[in-house]
């Protein structure tokens, strides 16, 4: 449970001349759910985008299963078993739900395994099966989020990175999404890195938690202490 599958070492990243992530070192261990908290503008999203290869880090390293993948293109990372669910519209709005899911398995060389995975995902989110032929953009926010997660699972990733899956969702839907994340973690053994602002609903599903503030890690460790609001307020 303690070997790092994905690791950031002194990662720095930003846009143009602006550095937003200032030397973050964090590792995601095999099989765990790691929660990263932080308020708006703390640099969480920039951190995971640099991790996933959507932007080139300014400094530092990214290691995946022990080998360095810093600055590698997303296509290669996806093929290697890392999946990313971006914030907001992580779907193709003009395509059907079914097409979205199928595109999730784009890098899979053997397409014959896809129907079976589709079944698994439909098992996880039955609503997606019901809405298979509906245009994704017309789904409700929660359904869109489930679809986005479903897409990411289509190539059976070993690491799943989720950027604020709860954003814009009603509380009951957030719970639903969180419980499915736990389910993914347990059923498929996927290691999960999740970024969140919704502390009460995301903390319970985390094995470990970290808080990022102004581009730096200010807390890393067990999630439980963060349940104390006073402590949390200090960190935020």
């Amino acid at each position: 449970m303690s070997t790092a599958i994905l690791e950031a070492r002194d990662l720095c990243a930003g846009y143009g001349k602006k550095q937003i992530v200032n030397g973050v070192s964090l590792s995601l261990n095999t099989g765990e759910v790691l929660l990263i908290l932080g308020h708006n503008g703390a640099g969480k999203t920039t951190f995971v985008r640099a991790l996933f290869g959507l932007m080139t880090p300014m400094a530092g390293q990214v290691l995946y299963e022990g080998k360095e993948i810093t600055g590698r293109k997303p296509a290669a990372n996806v093929a290697d078993g890392i999946a990313f669910v971006p914030q907001g519209h992580g779907i193709f709005r003009s395509l059907s739900v079914h097409d979205n899911l199928e595109l999730g398995g784009f890098v899979e060389p053997d397409k014959s395994v896809l129907p079976q995975r589709l079944e698994q995902i439909n098992g996880l989110f039955p609503i997606l099966k019901e809405r298979a032929s509906q245009t994704a953009g017309t789904l409700s926010g929660g359904q869109q989020q489930m679809l986005a997660i479903g897409m990411a699972l289509m190539h059976e990733p070993r690491v799943l990175i989720l950027d604020e899956p709860s954003i814009g969702l009603a509380p009951n839907l957030v719970e639903r999404v969180m419980s499915s994340i736990t389910e993914i973690n347990q059923r498929f053994g996927t290691s999960i890195l999740i970024i969140e602002q919704n502390v009460p609903l995301s903390l319970p599903i985390a094995h470990r938690a970290a808080v990022i503030k102004t581009g730096e890690v200010v807390y890393e460790g067990a999630p439980e202490p963060l349940q104390d609001h006073v402590k949390l307020m200090q960190l935020f």
Binding site: P74, I91, L95, L103, F106, K111
Partner: protein, 290 residues
């Protein structure tokens, strides 16, 4: 009444031609956001290659068509790899590739003039049949123009709908960043759409060659009408480009029932003007991407 019927049929035929051009231009535009003006002279090159193969080398017209397609694809892909991609990599301001595209337009059009000479090029071996349906007349080429749209449009729809690279094209049109996130190599897709879009222009060009002959200047109308069809139909929608093309063809034909024909070329732009003002996303387009 007969006139209206005839103009309706003309509208369908012309509309098919514009629609096909719109689809070819539109798939490039929607996927890569490049305003590929050089689509025009590439269309011209395709017609001239077909003419050279058929009239000068005496090859059968289907072979000439294949050669035309090959030439169009080579030029289309070449213009992406050698011209547009370097600008994309340097993140040049978005008007710069547009001006570069115009530069390429000038280069290609005049090269055609230099290599093939001026004047009209006709394939004499081809005879155009005439058909009557009640009071309505049309020719074999007219039928082909509609057939080619149906076949190629259909084939493209099947490709986009049922193949994984087809869906990758749709994905990139919808959301390029998300396409990268799920592991699509967006460069490959861009090359692919340049190949497809250029290939689609070639049969159109060959039909115009057989119908009216080829001139070095023929690409201008092709790219212009394609552009208008795409905007009217809505950027990012293949279906929109088809509808846009038909709308254009219909307005150009049926609109002339009452309006004097001296306004024929303005009417397309009146339509464009109104569509953009009243429904900026085009008749069928989703809201334009930021």
């Amino acid at each position: 009444m007969d006139l209206a019927l005839q103009l309706l049929v003309n509208g369908v035929i012309t509309g098919s031609h514009y629609a096909l051009l719109g689809v070819g231009f539109g798939i490039i535009f929607a996927t890569t956001r490049i305003v590929h003006f050089a689509y025009g002279p590439i269309f011209t090159v395709a017609a001239y290659m077909a003419w050279y193969s058929a009239a000068m080398l005496g090859l059968p017209i289907p072979v000439a068509l294949l050669i035309a397609i090959l030439a169009a694809v080579l030029l289309g892909v070449g213009s992406y790899v050698l011209l547009y991609e370097p600008f994309e990599k340097r993140q040049a301001p978005h008007l710069v590739p547009l001006i570069a595209s115009l530069g390429l337009y000038i280069v290609l059009e005049n090269l055609v003039g230099i290599i093939f000479g001026s004047g009209v090029r006709v394939v004499r071996e081809f005879t155009n049949g005439i058909h009557f349906m009640g009071p309505v007349f049309f020719t074999t080429i007219h039928i082909w123009q509609v057939v080619v749209l149906v076949v190629l449009g259909g084939a493209l729809a099947v490709f986009l709908r049922w193949t994984s690279y087809g869906k990758a094209v749709l994905a990139m049109t919808d959301n390029p960043e998300m396409a990268r996130i799920i592991g699509i190599d967006t460069r490959k897709v861009a090359i692919l759409v340049f190949a497809i879009g250029s290939a689609i222009s070639a049969p159109s060009a060959v039909l115009i060659l057989l119908k009216d002959g080829a001139t070095t200047h023929m690409g201008f109308l092709a790219v212009f009408m394609a552009f208008v069809a795409v905007i009217v139909g809505g950027i990012g929608s293949i279906k929109g480009a088809v509808i846009g093309g038909f709308a254009l063809g219909m307005v150009e034909s049926l609109g002339m029932l009452r309006i004097p024909t001296e306004w024929q070329s303005s009417i397309a732009f009146m339509l464009l003007f109104l569509v953009v003002l009243l429904r900026p996303q085009g008749l069928f387009g989703a809201a334009m991407r930021r």
